[in-house]
Amino acid sequence: MHIGLAEINAIVENVWASTLGYEAIPVDDPLEIADGVTGSVGISEAGALLGRVYLHCSREVASSAAAVMFRLDLDAVGEQDAADTVGELINMIGGNIKSLLAENSQLEIPTVVIGGGLVPDACVNVCDAYFVAEGGPFRVMLCGMQ
């Protein structure tokens, strides 16, 4: 699984601009994201997991995105709205990464965990990307397992 920072940046910028209508700006240095929301989705081929993509963001980032997706005032966004939104965002990011991989690779069902930090599976290689957008910073990590 050899997807680099440039590909991840382009995918994330496109997902944010098209789906949410505002910019996700890549930043070079790691940013602290405390007590956030983490979405992840696996990409497999012939039953073997090739890798997992993570989206880790603050609750503020998740809520800002959910407010756009569900056309709600920020105050009216609930925890489930924020979780659904992060699940859909990681689904799109994962799907776009998958499209750069083998034709017969498959995208698994996304999962979302509310609270805590990002605890990735055992990775053979990692591509870690940080962004700043409406609501604050967020992180997208591609954890390659082969």
Binding site: T19, F70, G87, E88, N91, M92, K98, L107
Partner: protein, 120 residues
């Protein structure tokens, strides 16, 4: 006109509906379904003018929904809005009677390009 939007993600259904409005398709009745089986029932009873469906859904996926709809002799214009779009999926969609396959993320212009033949 009636538009059926089938997606297991409430967030994505909301985005599709918002993008329909951004693309200028206002005043239509929007009906939502959370999986292919529910969508099939609604498609038969409501007879929408256009069906916009996700591919990967629980109970019945989008492709099986399309196949079942055509088997029941409904020729409703049908297209996919999906995260994945391999050449094999595009071929399957076309072979089974889908009019288009739009990948996520999408824009209002993408919708206009594909929906204009079917919607006012």
């Amino acid at each position: 006109m009636k538009i059926l939007v089938a997606d297991d993600s409430k967030a994505m259904r909301s985005i599709v509906i918002r993008t329909l409005r951004q693309a200028g398709y206002s005043g239509h009745k929007i009906i939502e379904a959370a999986d292919g089986a529910e969508a099939l029932g609604i498609a038969k009873s409501e007879e929408p003018d256009l069906i916009i469906s996700d591919w990967n859904m629980p109970e019945m996926n989008g492709l099986d929904f399309l196949i079942a709809l055509r088997a029941a002799e409904f020729d409703t214009p049908f297209g996919f809005v999906t995260t994945e779009a391999s050449p094999e999926m595009r071929e399957l969609a076309e072979k089974n009677g889908a009019a288009f396959l739009i990948t996520k993320p999408f824009t209002a212009e993408d919708f206009q390009r594909h929906f204009d033949p079917f919607l006012d």
